[in-house]
Amino acid sequence: MDNDLRMENLYFRYHRSDSDVIRNLTLHVPGGRVSAILGPNGTGKTTLLHLMLGLLKPGAGLITIAGKTHRQYSRRQLSQTIGLVPQFESIPFNLTVFEYLLLGRSPYLNPFQLPGRKDREIVEQTVQSLDIAHLLGKPAQRLSGGERQLVHIARVLAQNPGILLLDEPTAHLDLENQHRILGLLQRMSRQGITTVFTTHDPNAAIYAADHFILMQGGNIAQQGDLDTVITAENLTGLYRIPIRVESANGHTMVIMENFR
């Protein structure tokens, strides 16, 4: 099964709002690759992720997840297929990291079931693969920003979805942690997981992604590979500031023009 996502002529507006957040949006997210969604604040990136997830229902249009619409999945099947690392997630009541990570196994348990030995093993394997086994006993509220993001990713990997959505996974992280998270995204796509993330940093997108989506005013402005999408003209149009794109030794870099 090809874990791709398709959206056709999608419209969405929030309850009691009088304008569309998503307007006639058509998009194809290729399966097994890393896609980055770029766009100014308030352009509907998070809304789009929530539509993909099925948390929000479109007013009109069609969404298919690995070839099926949301209605063709049960709640549990859907959560076994598509996972989310949201932009904000505080962990209430100070669960330990291990207790929090076990929640990643919920899609495989009914509401009355407790996680079993197999679930514990999967969580332990996941933390070992991310090299964060030392965090297991820690209270989740006492983690640093970088540790917290790694724990959120571990939680979604314990969920074992074919499609993974991440809302600004590198925001508020130092360079070392950004590097680590972006590397993880690439590693996941090598394992065949379709990865979609939003970011405000074009260089982070270039570092990790091989498919690029520019959003503007609730619609897709551009989509495609690096050379066609990440151009000075497109980015200057998107962010309304002068932007340069430099390429050297096979590396592309986006630079804001100096104002001085």
Partner: protein, 333 residues
């Protein structure tokens, strides 16, 4: 917390609760203050009757009451992600109190009438709060429900004020007042049988869904992405455990602080995961309420209203918890 240590803790707690219950049967003011020798059971028919038809149903009701209030407190605090929520909010306590006062004033003071009226208005409080929250036009659903609960409680409590004002100060007013103070002094087997089905459904549902509670207290998007049917699962939990609370409040009157403070102590002892803290809260709440009720009927020649006692002890515990938390915070600071 490791599961072997947890099992040990749970076993010790259960043993302690059993011990409290066993002692409580023989503690009282007959034949003389504080202790009835168990041997008296065989000799004195009055002692036997007192024990079997007064102390035993009262004891079991106190246990059920404490377990239900603590479970309800745990569930509400987690679902609303707010450690200051207690089972009476959402208009349940004030609704039940209004129903009881209304019955005393206009229908009849017969216990069954009071219970039915109190349960009805307690549930009405819950449903009105919920309905109102769907009509509020701002805020997340937690804020909307909390605000609606406050408004509904205020309406019922002003209703209680009116009823007290027009009640006969010699006959009806004392009865209303004593009911509002809360106590189990009138409990019979009939009352226990009345609350049992409500309490059983509530406690069993919450017990079965105890691990799921952890999932339901995550943010909506995350909980949804992990397969939770948010509205349905939250409603199942709220309706079952709050119905149990309403039915018990109908018998006991307003018993404050148990549902607020016990979940905090349970999380302290067993950790934040509801898988462990919920069973601990149920046992602690049951034991605490049985012990408080035993004090309430034994300490003085007259009965001390249970609600006064639980509030006093609960507030002292709360102050202690706050101060010891401050100490901990400084040391980790």
């Amino acid at each position: 917390m490791q599961s072997r240590r947890f099992t040990l803790m749970l076993t010790l707690l259960a043993a302690a609760v059993l011990l409290i219950m066993l002692a409580s049967v023989f503690i009282g003011r007959y034949p003389e203050p504080f202790w009835m020798p168990p041997a008296l059971m065989g000799q004195d028919p009055l002692a036997k009757r007192l024990l079997l038809s007064l102390r035993l149903p009262r004891l079991l009701t106190a246990l059920t009451l404490g377990m239900t209030l603590s479970a309800a407190g745990s569930v509400l605090q987690m679902i609303f992600r707010n450690p200051l929520v207690e089972p009476g909010f959402l208009g349940v306590s004030q609704g039940a109190a209004f129903g009881a006062a209304l019955s005393i004033l206009w229908f009849s003071s017969h216990p069954v009438t009071i219970e039915l009226s109190a349960t009805f208005f307690g549930l009405l409080g819950l449903l009105t709060s919920y309905w109102l929250s769907t009509r509020v036009r701002f805020g997340g659903w937690i804020l909307r429900l909390i605000l609606s609960g406050i408004a509904v409680s205020a309406i019922f409590s002003s209703g209680i004020g009116i009823l007290k004002y027009i009640a006969d100060p010699l006959s009806e007013l004392p009865e209303i007042t004593f009911w509002l103070l809360g106590g189990l002094y009138r409990v019979t087997w009939q009352d226990f049988v009345y609350v049992l089905p409500f309490a059983a459904v509530g406690l069993v549902t919450v017990w079965l869904m105890r691990w799921r509670l952890n999932l339901l207290c995550l943010h909506d998007a995350t909980a949804f992405s992990l397969g939770a049917s948010l509205t349905r699962e939250r409603l199942i939990l709220l309706v079952t455990i709050i119905s149990a609370t309403a039915a018990l409040t109908a018998i006991s009157g307003i018993i404050g602080w148990v549902g607020l403070i016990i979940p905090h102590i349970a999380r302290r002892l067993a950790g934040a995961s509801a898988e462990k803290s919920l069973p601990v809260a149920m046992l602690l709440g049951g034991g605490f309420t049985v012990a408080s009720d035993t004090l309430a009927r034994t300490m003085l020649a007259g009965e001390i209203p249970l609600g006064i006692l639980t509030s006093a002890i609960g507030a002292v515990l709360f102050i202690y918890l706050m101060m010891s938390m401050g100490w901990k915070a400084r040391h980790h600071g």
